[in-house]
């Protein structure tokens, strides 16, 4: 069965209808650079957010002195200035990126493992069990994630962990649909039949034969989904979930900056730019990898 358009849209990626044909047509970007450049960018961003605050002279992102409030950029000691309560903006960007990346990684990891397994099991079993599993996932896809997010925010309170739970409701069904579609394509292959006929146990079929084959595809979609999850994390900050202030995340920095946008747009633009550059890097990396495995 061909990829259903709904699978791809749920996953939030454009179908790779002709990547192979385009790759054949050539283009330097489709070559090695298309993967290396964004991979270096992603590594650089991770390094800045996770390693630089440990080894570099970065002030803490919270508990700043109110007397230093709203310093302009390039002030001594604060090269991007300070926010309206006196915290160093550069430090908040780094620590905020750390929170945003952590959330996105956790959400995609949960999606990849849980969703990947659910989809592979459904696709491999087929029949009524497949139909049942997919209907349950449809419930989560049709369920407005926002209701859940706001409910989690009001019931359990905003926190990084609760944000991860809320966002996993997007990533698990999306990943499951991709995994199921990939498993369906795999199921009729000769080596699968051979393994089945030689009496391979069910867990071994799923973990030993299906998982390694669909993993590259799932990983690529997970990378492409990183950007979407980071964007959604920010959206949750607008409705009261997300990382609770004063701790920074790019999402809550943007949401907070909204109120001072006409006076000082920097508080919106800086985290927005960081988010944008990171999402572009992930998208380019995902695209590059996808083009690669579609060509093979």
């Amino acid at each position: 069965m061909a990829d259903l358009p709904s699978d791809l849209v749920v996953a939030g990626v454009a179908p790779a209808a002709d990547e192979a044909a385009v790759a054949k047509a050539g283009g330097w970007w489709r070559g090695r650079l298309g993967v290396t450049v964004p991979a270096v960018m992603v590594a650089f961003i991770f390094g800045l957010c996770f390693i630089w605050p440990i080894i570099g002279p970065v002030p803490p992102p919270t508990g700043g002195n109110i007397l230093n409030a709203s310093l302009p950029a390039f002030s001594p000691g604060h090269f991007l200035g300070t926010d309206p309560v006196g915290n160093d903006e550069w430090s908040r960007l780094l620590y905020g990126g750390r929170a945003s990346l952590e959330i996105a990684l956790a959400v995609q990891a949960i999606g990849l493992i849980l969703g990947g397994l659910i989809g592979a099991v459904a696709g491999y079993l087929g029949g009524w069990r497949d139909a049942t599993i997919m209907r349950v996932l449809d419930v989560f896809i049709a369920f407005p994630g926002l209701v859940l997010a706001v409910a989690i925010a009001q019931g359990l309170g905003p926190s990084e962990l609760h944000t991860i739970w809320a966002l996993s409701f997007f990533s698990v069904p999306a990943s499951a649909r991709i995994s199921r579609a990939a498993t369906l394509q795999l199921r009729e292959q000769t080596f699968m039949t051979a393994a089945r006929l030689s009496g391979t146990s069910f867990p071994r079929m799923v973990l030993g034969h299906i998982a390694p084959n669909i993993l590259p595809q799932l990983l690529t979609y997970a990378l492409l989904g990183m950007g979407i999850i980071m964007i959604l994390e920010g959206a949750l900050s607008f409705v009261g979930l997300g990382v609770p202030p004063p701790a920074p995340s790019w999402g809550n920095m943007i949401a907070q900056g909204q109120s001072t946008i006409s006076a000082d747009p920097r508080y919106v633009f800086l985290p927005s730019a960081a988010l944008f550059i990171t999402v572009v890097s992930f998208n380019l990396l995902g695209e590059g990898l996808r083009a690669r495995w579609v060509t093979q």
């Binding site: 791809l8 179908p15 209808a17 385009v22 209907r135 994630g145 607008f238 999402v279 380019l284």
Partner: protein
């Protein structure tokens, strides 16, 4: 599932009145199966939201009376609103009313849920519709220019533009647009909403920024999708080879032959986006102060107004389920090579 749908699909098809030959069509039985399968999904979605809302601290009575209310007062109001009944009873009451089309009344305002939906849904639909018009109107020419010369200058530029557009968060775009067009240039309003009944031109003026905020991502998504599909058509399809062999010029093959085919694929994706988008408009409505369904939903959650939440969730779920189905069916109807009759056999 297939064993139950087989006897059902025949009489349904006959009632639909469209020639009896359709009765045995795999597409029709696919539709019927999917519609039947949608019933438990709708049931699950409404039940899940009931569970979620009930697990929240506080209820509508408490939210209505405020923090100063005594427990006795709250209890009285709970009885009046029917909130004292057991959870499953309340869900059952709601469900069997909803099945016959009664969505109940708001607990906080007493307004009927149907009238709330009736006044808020059109606002959101107009916003989303406007965003779709903008994105489709631009995506088609952009994709055509790109596909005319793959890896040419125009193609690279439009691919760079669409990658950037895909990577920008709608709320970031909204804030940047507000800053540029409302704060700095002061040419468009930053927040508010004018109903089209009052003034059509004002209505559109207020819609431009929010619609662009939503539409840019769509535009970029469609441009890339359409370009990829056009290139696929141009490179592999027999009808393209035939047209070229007859001497039809490449640009004409692209616009007249390939585009027509590719647009079919796009339609299905548009149908799908519409469903998911309705959920994403919430933040945009919040930023621009638009009184749409997202705004209503946030308020209803704050008030623990379960009938309103259930009504919105139910209508959304119906829309999403129907659009998903429509997309997958259109996909198979428009492209006869894809058949759902016997999946994977």
């Amino acid at each position: 599932m297939s064993s139950t749908s087989a006897p059902l699909s025949a009489p349904l098809a006959a009632r639909a009145g469209r020639a009896g030959r359709l009765a045995g069509s795999p597409t029709l039985s696919f539709i019927v199966r999917r519609l039947l399968a949608a019933i438990p999904v709708l049931f699950g979605v409404t039940f899940l939201s009931f569970v979620v809302m009930n697990s929240l601290p506080g209820d509508a009575a408490q939210e209505l009376l405020g923090a100063q209310a005594t427990p006795a007062e709250i209890h009285q109001l709970e009885i009046k609103l029917g909130l004292d009944k057991p959870f499953l009873t309340r869900y059952w009451d709601w469900l069997h009313q909803a099945v016959i089309g009664h969505l109940g009344h708001s607990l906080s305002s007493g307004q009927s849920v149907a009238s709330i939906l009736g006044s808020d849904l059109p606002v959101t639909f107009e916003l989303v519709g406007f965003a779709f018009v903008i994105s489709l109107a631009l995506a088609v020419p952009l994709a055509l220019v790109s596909a005319r010369k793959p890896n040419g200058v125009a193609d690279r530029l439009s691919m760079m533009f669409s990658m950037a557009g895909l990577s920008i968060a709608p709320y970031v775009l909204a804030l940047v647009l507000v800053y540029v067009f409302a704060v700095k240039l002061n040419v468009l309003p930053a927040i508010g909403w004018v109903p089209p009944g009052q003034s059509v031109s004002q209505n559109i003026r207020y819609l431009i920024l929010p619609a662009v905020s939503i539409g840019l991502g769509l535009l970029c998504f469609y441009t890339r999708l359409l370009r990829a599909d056009l290139l696929g058509q141009m490179q592999g399809e027999d009808y393209v080879v035939t047209a070229r062999a007859k001497g039809v010029r490449p640009w004409r093959v692209l616009t007249r032959h390939a585009l027509r085919n590719s647009l079919f694929g796009l339609i299905t994706v548009v149908a799908l986006n519409l469903g998911t988008l309705l959920g994403f408009t919430v933040v945009i409505e919040d930023i621009f102060g638009i009184p749409g369904i997202g705004h209503e939903l946030l308020q209803a959650i704050d008030n623990r107004d379960i009938p309103v939440i259930e009504g919105i969730v139910f209508v959304f779920a119906v829309i999403v389920v129907l659009l998903n189905l429509a997309a997958d069916v259109l996909y198979s109807v428009l492209d006869p090579r894809i058949r759902y009759g016997r999946p994977t056999e």
